[in-house]
Symmetry: C2
Subunit: 284 residues, 2 copies
């Protein structure tokens, strides 16, 4: 069996996107920090499942003894970039009991009547949980900017509101991982064509996808601006090259694993007298 290679540089470092990031300089087909190809990447994904799963169980266990920390993975991307695959193949390694997944759709009429963070706050992960947002409050500075769904001044204020909101979140014990899956326009074309080719993929295709595609450059600009203005040391963005699905998956797996490993999790110590409980149990 192939031994899965490790990253030479962790995506936590190599994919970190600070305010000075230039999206157009990042090649969506690149595989930063990983020397293997697809086969090695798939082996790495499989090999990494166990470590991630064990760390999650510790996070969950600690919450049962009063810890309030949690993790929130935010996934943003153009259509077909592979958000769903990340959820299935990376998050899917983790016990479903420990995952709070939420996909944000177009806001409902009720949601529209509230502040844009209102619906987001309702879906935040509880103590010990790994939250996963498939789209998020960033839609309110992405599609809202591209489609001019809000006044320019309102849009500008949102970056600050997001920074403040996320700072509070981090302060209250939630570790944030913000991921932009960085796809090329050509690769999207191939993936949309595949969805049209296969009858079992038609349900994933929406004619509206082409309208969004036509606004590709505007979206890249909106992502660029969102990252510039909301990437902070505590709530950093990671730009994950996504033309190779296998790479995006191992990269996000490693980002999650690194964050959990950095939390110094440990199995909670018994709050009862173990010997006494053993004796009691033996007597039953």
């Amino acid at each position: 069996m192939l031994v899965a290679p490790e990253f030479s540089i962790s995506p936590s470092t190599s994919l970190l996107a600070g305010p000075d990031v230039r999206l157009e300089r990042i090649d969506p087909a690149s595989t930063p920090g990983f020397d293997g190809g697809k086969q090695a990447g798939e082996a790495k994904l499989t090999a990494g499942r166990k470590a991630l799963s064990e760390l999650q169980e510790k996070l969950f266990a600690e919450s049962r003894f009063g810890s309030e920390i949690s993790v929130l993975l935010i996934l943003q991307a153009m259509d077909t970039a592979g958000k769903g695959g990340i959820v299935r193949h990376v998050v899917g390694a983790v016990d479903p009991q420990g995952v709070q997944h939420h996909a944000f759709k177009s806001p409902t009429e009720v949601e529209k009547q509230h502040h844009f963070l209102w619906r987001v706050k309702k879906e935040l992960p509880g103590p010990g949980m790994i939250g996963v947002f498939d789209r998020s409050h960033y839609e309110d500075v992405l599609i809202h900017r591209v489609r001019k769904l809000a006044a320019p001044q309102l849009l500008d204020e949102r970056y600050g509101e997001i920074r403040e909101f996320e700072a509070e979140l981090v302060h209250s014990g939630t570790r944030l991982i913000k991921v932009m899956l960085h796809l090329s326009k050509d690769e999207q074309k191939k993936r949309l064509a595949k969805r049209l080719e296969r009858k079992d993929k038609h349900w994933k295709y929406n004619p509206g996808d082409l309208e969004e595609r036509a606004l590709w450059d505007e979206y890249q600009n909106a992502y660029q601006m969102a990252i510039e203005r909301t990437s902070t040391p505590d709530a950093p963005w990671f730009v994950v090259p996504a033309d190779r699905k296998w790479y995006a998956r191992i990269a996000v797996q490693q980002l999650l694993t690194d964050v959990l490993a950095g939390m110094q999790l440990s199995w909670p110590k018994a709050t009862f007298d173990v010997a006494e409980e053993k004796a009691k149990l033996a007597a039953t």
Copy 2:
């Protein structure tokens, strides 16, 4: 590689527990309908993941085109019977996007002020989802009966309320699978002892578990009565022998797979003109 054997009789038939079930006649260490041992069972669990995952994706896909059907798996059992393992190893095969898991704990003060079905209704699976209840409204006729947390007449009325509630649920498109993991008292002792032995399992142990264990027979009676009075053709109970974890897992996997297979799911037909979309995409 070992070829995974199939059930000779599906658990959907062999484990079906009608109103005439007698729990004490079911051996918790038995493996009805399955001729292999642990190794074969584990191969079967692995082999069955793909079928389950594909069926779930179809269920989810149909909901995107207006279908409102869903599935709800209810897990009830004594401590250590393996509910968590079912979630991790059976439900874990399915895309996290398609799962709504909820663990019901002791009711909060707010929940206590409502009807016992109030908190349950809030957690029902949406269209296309597989809901998983780790404990459920059955606690209100199990621990409530054993611990006398409600007046006898009120308890008796709850069976009827549950039947009615579940009938409505089924009528509105949710397929119900109610599972009692049937553990022996001896096997529970071994599992509790193991939790006390291993430091990485201490967090799963609660001194209160022994108090519940002391009421073993009362719980068996309460389960017996709950199954007698709420197993209906549309909302049947399945008593799953649980002394062998591998067996309980393949049994529940098969129950889920059978229900989904029986739904005659198919990939939604495109509601757009495929050729036209292909042409439009090519022009981008």
